[in-house]
């Protein structure tokens, strides 16, 4: 479980996060949603340690990650898998090298064991046989899947996903969402997804945190979101005429 307590983060005079509290449970997919500039990516970066919050705590199984130094963070980092918005694959490495890179750094697995693990991860994301391709040779959806394969190579306890559907067609987006849901069940990991894709919200959002102007404005599940009276959330989720019509049918 991951718990964030009273997270504050600002950049200069711009207060991006203003006292966020949330609990993300293991085996569940938690979504952080909100409009552009609401602070959702900043919250995710505070959670994984890429940003240091000015106030507040990020607790992994009760341990305060924000106060740890580099060395003490390593055991937790080894349990983290992350898929970045642009996949962040290492350009100079093949698909296979990308996946086995964390294994090479942190395990004593033999070469054949690492290749087996890479093949398993690639099969898991339906990319078997693409081992020797370079990221530049892959489509956006394939890059995302390789990013997921790399994220699961160390069997993560915590899976963070930043905008998994950005730049993807609706069909591929659903494939990625389903994959994230399956992996969360398979590894029983704490999965936190930052998104503003409404298909994801309705499809996989077991626990949703809605951020508005740097504050937690609402929390609940995808079943509750359709019946909420929170005006800011409604205008975010049901912005288009199509979604408004869909809400009326609920």
């Amino acid at each position: 479980m991951i718990e964030v307590q009273n997270i504050h983060k600002s950049f200069g005079s711009n207060d991006v996060l203003r006292g966020i509290d949330a609990k993300f449970e293991a085996g569940k997919i938690s979504l952080i949603i909100g409009g552009s500039g609401s602070g959702k990516s900043t919250l995710l970066k505070c959670m994984v340690g890429l940003h240091k919050p000015e106030q507040g705590k990020v607790l992994y199984q009760g341990e305060d990650f924000t106060r740890m130094d580099f060395e003490n963070r390593i055991p937790i980092r080894k349990e983290i898998g992350m898929l970045f918005q642009n996949s962040a694959l290492f350009d100079s490495m093949t698909v296979e090298q990308n996946i086995i890179f964390p294994l090479e750094m942190f395990t004593d697995m033999s070469r054949s064991e690492k290749i087996d693990r890479a093949n398993f991860c690639l099969e898991r994301v339906n990319l078997a046989g693409r081992n020797k391709l370079y990221p530049a040779e892959l489509s956006g959806g394939m890059k995302k899947r390789v990013g997921i394969a790399r994220a699961i190579s160390m069997s993560p306890k915590y899976l963070f996903v930043d905008e998994p559907n950005s730049g993807l067609d609706p069909e591929t987006s659903i494939v990625i969402d389903e994959l994230i849901a399956e992996l969360t069940q398979e590894y029983q990991c704490t999965t936190v997804v930052v998104t503003h894709d409404m298909n994801s919200v309705m499809g996989i959002g077991e626990y949703i945190v809605f951020l508005y102007k740097g504050q937690k404005w609402w929390e609940g599940s995808n079943k509750e979101i359709a019946h909420t009276d929170v005006e800011e959330l409604n205008s975010f989720v049901f912005a288009s005429p199509f979604m408004k019509a869909a809400k009326e049918r609920f």
Partner: protein, 244 residues
């Protein structure tokens, strides 16, 4: 402002020299970088050094108008100029442009495409993994390139002098061997070592902290080269003042 950047640079270096996660992976990277920096720059440094040596010989001969001065002095002047100044400094300035801009752009691109964030999230010491191999390759390969540059500058001088008729090969060889002080090569190697460190670390620093996109990556590359060149010239003066 200067002290803020300098402090940030020192903190980055502290992270760079943290104990590597796995030496085996770093070793592979070091060899790769040695190939990129050293072997990749051989041709350029060879051409520049040979021509500088040849041109130096002709210019020294042009300035030596007195019949009282033996022409073998041309070889002596060319030797000391090449060893003490031209080979280390010109090689370093050229490599600051070639290697430095490449390091800044490579690391800067990794920063803006979140590849450095990916390394950090995996628990890998990103400054160590990305920068340490480059620094180690720089401080070993740049002295090697400088040694080669000295040799080629002297050889270029021999041919330049012979072809132009400025000095006979026998006089030139007599000049470069007469009164040779081995300490000057030590000074050149110290300079090359320091310049190698400056080129790789300053360029990596500019790339590592880049913010923005493709435009900023390009600007970081340019700034890295400019700062490296200035730092090389300042270090050149300090080393010369301390060692000679």
């Amino acid at each position: 402002m200067f002290f803020t950047y300098f402090g940030q640079y020192l903190l980055l270096l502290k992270a760079v020299f943290r104990r590597p996660e796995k030496w085996k992976i770093y070793r592979k990277e070091i060899i790769h970088e040695m190939n990129e920096i050293g072997v990749g720059s051989l041709g350029l440094i060879a051409i520049i050094s040979t021509f500088i040596g040849a041109v130096m010989t002709m210019q020294i001969a042009f300035q030596l108008v007195s019949d009282l001065i033996p022409t073998s002095v041309i070889g002596q002047i060319n030797r000391d100029s090449s060893i003490l100044e031209l080979s280390p400094t010109i090689t370093a300035l050229v490599l600051a442009g070639k290697v430095g801009s490449s390091i800044s752009s490579q690391i800067g691109s990794m920063r803006v495409t979140e590849q450095i964030d990916a390394l950090e999230i995996m628990g890998i010491n990103a400054p160590g993994y990305l920068i340490l191999p480059k620094i180690l390759a720089g401080i070993t390969m740049i002295p090697a390139l400088v040694i080669m540059s000295i040799f080629l500058a002297l050889t270029g001088g021999l041919f330049g002098g012979a072809i132009s008729g400025a000095v006979t090969p026998a006089d030139y060889i007599n000049g470069i061997t007469d009164g040779f002080i081995g300490y000057t090569v030590a000074v050149a190697l110290v300079k090359a070592f320091v310049f190698g460190f400056i080129i790789t670390s300053v360029s990596a620093f500019k790339g590592f902290y880049v913010r923005g996109g493709a435009l900023e990556v390009g600007q970081a590359g340019t700034r890295g080269v400019v700062i490296s060149c200035i730092a090389i010239l300042v270090a050149d003066y300090i080393i010369t003042a301390l060692m000679l």
